[in-house]
């Protein structure tokens, strides 16, 4: 399938944005998933609500909130730009931020399920064998939750690929800079003959996202089978 230069640019940018979004949000997603799966604390319900909020909020509202926080005059945006030179508005990093926030609950969910399935006594066994809490987490919890972590990452990646509403609010739709596949499809549809023109990119989106989802599903099944076999 041949894509135009602009379409290749959009594909490359989308892959970059989705990859960065997943890599950046993975460590906090693992931490939050572990907290929700294994700890009881005051405010747990509130944390759960905040984590899942991007799932139910209109993406445009998420984008608006991101602008309020990370805009150049925003609560954090000005500080980050002055101190670290990090700019989010009309920048691909803004698109990555929007994707990370919207995909966050989809990352957390499978990882949380994976942590919940791990028998706490395995960690206790590790502790009696000389592992400290962090060592036990890294050597027991993380490897056993790996299928969930991979599955969540792929789900998050697939969701990031399709991000539109929050991205256009904070990053705009600048060709070659912030125009991801979804945004390019939208702008193509706006032009005469757009339906035919956008078929290639629509097909590419479906193939990439479906591959990521399929891989996630297969990994989750493999992980579940392995854990069930191991504890049988």
């Amino acid at each position: 399938m041949l894509l135009t230069v602009a379409e290749w640019q959009a594909v490359r940018l989308t892959l970059l944005v989705a990859s960065v979004a997943v890599v950046v949000s993975l460590p906090p997603a693992v931490a939050v998933a572990w907290l929700l799966a294994k700890r009881n604390f005051p405010g747990k319900f509130l944390l759960e609500t905040i984590v899942n909020l991007p799932l139910v909020l209109p993406p445009v509202v998420t984008g608006y909130l991101l602008l309020v926080i990370f805009g150049r005059q925003g609560l954090l945006g000005g500080f980050l730009e002055r101190t670290f030179g990090l700019r989010f508005v009309f920048d691909w990093k803004g698109a990555a931020l929007a994707s990370a926030v919207v995909a966050f609950p989809l990352l957390v969910r499978p990882i949380r399920v994976a942590f919940s399935a791990i028998d706490d006594r395995l960690v206790q066994a590790a502790r009696t064998l000389g592992a400290g809490p962090f060592d036990a987490f890294c050597s027991i919890m993380l490897p056993l939750a790996r299928p969930g972590i991979l599955s969540g990452s792929l789900l998050g990646f697939a969701r990031s690929m399709g991000e539109f509403g929050a991205t256009i609010m904070i990053a705009g739709s600048i060709p070659g800079e912030t125009r991801t596949m979804s945004l390019l499809i939208y702008s193509q549809l706006d032009a005469p003959g757009g339906m035919e023109q956008s078929v290639r990119l629509v097909a590419a989106s479906i193939i990439i996202a479906a591959t990521a989802l399929l891989a996630g599903e297969l990994l989750e099944r493999y992980g579940r089978r392995r854990l069930q076999g191991a504890t049988a």
């Binding site: 590790a126 009696t128 050597s139």
Partner: protein
């Protein structure tokens, strides 16, 4: 000279309580009592997996827990080997890596890996994963893993009760051989008379009505 002095009070949030004291000498000591008397809870308290409300636990003159002195060593700092009732082998690690898990994390080099593998007849299993092992093999790996930590005290929770009757004698034989080879003081809990007869030198009763057994071995 006593190996372990235990005198603790503990209660679960649901209300079950334990107020128990005993002194363990060298050898293999069986903690016996009816179901629900708190035998496994005592092992968890000694290993640091549960925290008593108050009391003291001393192992070879090292204070593991003292509510008055505010001492509460974490499980990894207690030098106690624990063999869980259902083994708790790490499913993502081979038998060899399970065995070395504790050894890699202890500075003591008292117990030789090859010696343990030999005594417990684990040589053919080293590359296999736990899910492919029989109950008896899992138990032998769990014991080997705990011993390779070079523990000052070995805790065994119902060591034979999950095994088929046909496997029990063989696993008990391996256990006795390993414990005697390395002279490790051992505390086991069991409700199974056969296991106790095979493994234990003395018993401590947790049954408050069993005054004879209690006074003979505990404080």
């Amino acid at each position: 000279m006593s190996v372990l002095r235990f005198d603790c009070r503990f209660s679960y949030p649901a209300g079950f309580g334990l107020n128990f004291a005993f002194v363990a000498e060298r050898g293999v000591i069986a903690l016996v009592g009816p179901s629900g008397s708190g035998k496994t809870t005592v092992l968890h308290l000694i290993a640091g997996l549960l925290k008593p409300q108050n009391g003291t636990i001393t192992l070879h003159d090292q204070v593991l827990f003292d509510s008055k002195m505010r001492v509460n060593l974490p499980p990894e700092g207690r030098g106690v080997g624990y063999v869980f009732q259902d083994y708790q082998l790490f499913p993502h690690l081979t038998v060899g890596k399970n065995l070395r898990y504790g050894q890699r994390r202890t500075r003591q080099t008292g117990i030789d890996f090859d010696r343990i593998v030999n005594i417990l007849e684990l040589g053919d299993l080293l590359r296999r994963y736990p899910y492919s092992l029989s109950g008896g093999q899992k138990q032998r790996v769990a014991v080997g893993r705990a011993l390779l930590r070079s523990p000052k005290l070995l805790l065994l929770d119902e060591p034979l009760s999950a095994l088929d009757p046909s496997l029990r004698a063989s696993v008990a034989e391996h256990l006795v051989r390993a414990i005697e080879e390395f002279h490790i003081p051992t505390l086991l809990v069991s409700h199974d008379r056969e296991s106790i007869e095979w493994l234990a030198h003395t018993t401590v009763s947790m049954d408050p009505t069993d005054s004879a057994a209690r006074s003979g071995n505990s404080v």
